[in-house]
């Protein structure tokens, strides 16, 4: 084994371990930040790990209306999330799997997760889940093109058709692509908040049907499937966060600095999300499309600035 193969295998291993073990920390961080801003102590940062372990021991309860499709939702979310985590670079370290066009597979894996969640929600035969499902699919019509136009802009700027090339491209900070890059990241931040059901689009903490999108779709899950649901949501935070964090990280000399920088940046992203959630209120539901259109326009403008 030569040096570079050893290094690559280490990167690979660290990537997989990060994807498997880091995600539950992020919702903990976000909740801690929100609690501190609100003047409370809040739950411990590692709370979600405890919750997952507890749920793994619990018994699942299934309604008689549901079929095998009900279980397919959480399973698909985690499976798709794990597969997608192999495609996205964490920081400047290249992802284990990278090829031209991997961003398309990335986006469609999350599309698969969304479809499975929606279908498993409709399986319960309840109007609450139906409501959440209807809203989820409506908003996804605006977030998908925003994501893809962001990819288009980055592809144009970096000349690479792979996520590892687009996100880890050096010299982004000081080039003609700075302005468009900021627009892309702003648009992607909006997509991030929407896809992860954060305020101002959705409230992850209430359980009133008027205010829910994602929370209401998983209302009937329990036991191990619910553990998969929670884990999948946090995995999505990590993976989509890596998209935003990647272009912002400066390139350093040593690989371990890269990784440390990545962890720091992801933590910082969680703190920022917590602050955003504390500072704003949830939008009225008919204002959410306007918010999403703003994100779409941001990424579209970024592309056209680069095209000109």
């Amino acid at each position: 084994m030569t040096d570079s193969t050893l290094v690559r295998s280490l990167h690979f291993l660290l990537h997989i371990l990060t994807a498997l073990l880091l995600p539950p920390l992020l919702p903990g961080l976000i909740n801690k930040v929100k609690a501190l801003v609100a003047g409370r102590q809040g739950p411990p940062v590692l709370q979600l790990y405890h919750d997952l372990a507890k749920l793994a021991r619990k018994r699942a309860v299934y309604s008689r209306t549901t079929t095998w499709v009900f279980l397919a939702g959480p399973v698909a979310v985690v499976a798709a999330g794990l597969t997608a985590s192999l495609l996205v670079p964490f920081g400047h370290s290249p992802s284990p799997v990278h090829f031209q066009g991997d961003m398309i597979l990335f986006a469609y894996l999350f599309g698969l997760a969304r479809f499975a969640t929606v279908v498993s929600a409709l399986d319960t035969g309840s109007s609450f889940e139906g409501m959440g499902a209807a809203r989820e699919v409506t908003f996804s019509v605006l977030t998908e093109p925003a994501l893809f136009l962001g990819f288009a802009a980055l592809a144009k700027a970096s000349g690479s058709l792979s996520l590892s090339g687009m996100l880890a491209s050096p010299g982004f900070a000081i080039s003609r692509a700075t302005g468009p890059l900021i627009l892309v990241l702003a648009g992607w931040m909006i997509v991030f908040l929407t896809e992860n059901s954060r305020i101002p689009v959705d409230d992850p903490n209430t359980h009133l049907e008027l205010t829910m999108i994602h929370e209401v779709m998983v209302l009937d899950h329990s036991g191990r499937p619910f553990a998969l649901v929670l884990y999948g949501a946090s995995l999505k935070l990590l993976v989509l966060g890596a998209l935003i964090v990647g272009p912002l990280l400066p390139r350093t000399s040593a690989p371990w600095l890269d990784w440390a920088g990545f962890y720091g940046a992801v933590g910082l992203l969680a703190v920022v999300v917590g602050l955003v959630e504390s500072a704003t209120a949830r939008f009225r539901l008919n204002r959410v499309p306007q918010f999403l259109v703003a994100g779409l326009l941001a990424t579209a403008f970024a592309f056209f600035l680069l095209q000109a």
Partner: protein
Amino acid sequence: MILFGLALALVTLSGVPGLFMRAGGGRASAWLLGLGALAGLAAAARVLCGGAPPALALLRTPLGTPGFLRLDPIGAFFLVPVLVLPACGAWFGAGYWGDAHESARRLRLLLGVTTGFMALLVAASHALTFLLAWEGMAVTAFFLVAAEDRDPETQRAAWIYLVSTHSGTLCLFAAFGLLSGAGFLFLPVPPGLAASPRGTAVFLLFLAGFGMKAGIFPLHFWLPPAHAAAPSHVSSMMSGVLIKMGILGLVRALCLVPDPPLWWGALLVALGAVSGILGVAFALAQHDLKRLLAYHSIENIGIILLGLGLGTLGKSTGHPELQLLGFAGALLHVLNHSLFKGLLFLGAGSVVQATGSRDLERMGGLARSMPVTAGVFLAGSWAICGLPPLNGFVSEWLIYLAAFRGLAFTHSSWPVLALAALAVIGALAAACFAKVFGVVFLGEPRSPEAAAAVERPRSMRAPMLVLAGACLAIGAVPVAVGPALARAAGAAAGLPAPAGLGALAHFGILTAAALALLAAAGLLWAWARGGAAPRAGLPTWDCGYAAASPRIQYTASSFADGLVSAMRFVLWPQVRWRRVRGLFPAQRAYRSHVPDLVLDRVAEPGLGLAARGLAVLHFFQSGQLPLYLLYILITLVALLVWMVA
């Protein structure tokens, strides 16, 4: 050629034994079509794996050129869905449209004849053969659509179809006539012709003629009524194969031109985007299951056009990879769409037969009573949304790759339109099929008929399973179809040798990703099912609501309402309801319907206006025979005088 001829003979005559048999005619025709399909697939496989294209030439005809049938790679690729789908349809029809129906014999005969004409069409290499096969296919399909001809809605749908297809054929005659300077064989046109006014006219006429058949917006208006009115296995064949013959024509026309101008590709991309987005938007608003599936066909034709447009852009700008990827994506989507749309229509047929209605609002909870049908319908929905690891994703992947290459390496902005359109289409399609699958199969039954539904017999389930298996195979292992696709796409793109499509499109990695995904899902499923024994049989919790009834579920209209009202400037829904007022409101009703934009809001009023305007010409129609003869005499004398003077 023998295999192909055998296939042709078997499929054309597949309905004939049924005319003489008292019972079992359905099975006989299914067997014959199946055997013909196998023979034809063998012939196609031989060509696609590098064999020489078999050809059958006629002696010199009065039109001066030889050339009759030639099964080149493009034709062989299109032959696959042409034969597979009617075979599955006939198998399905054995149970679905049994001898109890008065039109069963006629339907079986016509299904075979239509398939025969289509097989002839894909192999035609002479304009006359092409047009004859085209007309034959169109007319026999008319009789297929009008199978239940006592129903006035079916009659109307069949007439609209006939008028549209003949208008399209008229444009094709004109186009072939204008092109006749290059002979009637399908030979490449001289460079420079495409940019001339004649070339423009030919392109637009071909686009109109083939577009009318394929269902490109705004020439799509015949599709929804015809597909809804026809029996389901006929709809599956029409949607899966008949409209693809329009795409075949476009592909053949495009591959004849060595130097298409840039605006051709741009126009194709624009039409593809419009068809795709509007198709799925209208589909979202439908509550008739088969009309909804018909609009989805329009959307997928839009996606195919996006691929063709990107390929043509690549040809115009001189990027061979873009060309190859675009055409490969379009061709693979033709095959994939025929597979999953055929599957969906067969599933819809099962559901419609089980519940006795096409209305989505009267279904629900069918997954428990019809598990196999639900499973294959889910596979079809999954595939049509383009989600990994099924086949819809692979063809959309190729088109996405082409779009990304286009925007990164050329200076044109059109690839970005294709990209954005594909993204929106994907999201809307996922919304629509989540609605369809959820409302039809999941939840509680919304009507007594849905509660009483039973699973369909094996003869109806088996073809659906075959098609679902094919979808999974192509999606999970795209490397298997890579070489054949490369050969067909290379021929379509006009490239001399296909340059490693598998490597360019990373089919190997897609296969690995699909297998990894399935493995991960399997492991997680096992884990989720493990642990303490689950408790089942309780009612749905949803915030502890105690009196859940099937009527509190989301209906299809309510699910789609967010998107439909967002797009009301394009859909123009007709909504009738009165506001709910007061603390104890009386009973209220809500009705919504989205008529087709082109047919019901433009074509019918327009034609009505034209008919009233032309009624002034009634003056000339006196009914007097001598007067008509006088008209003929006047014309004759006028012509003589003009000729002499």
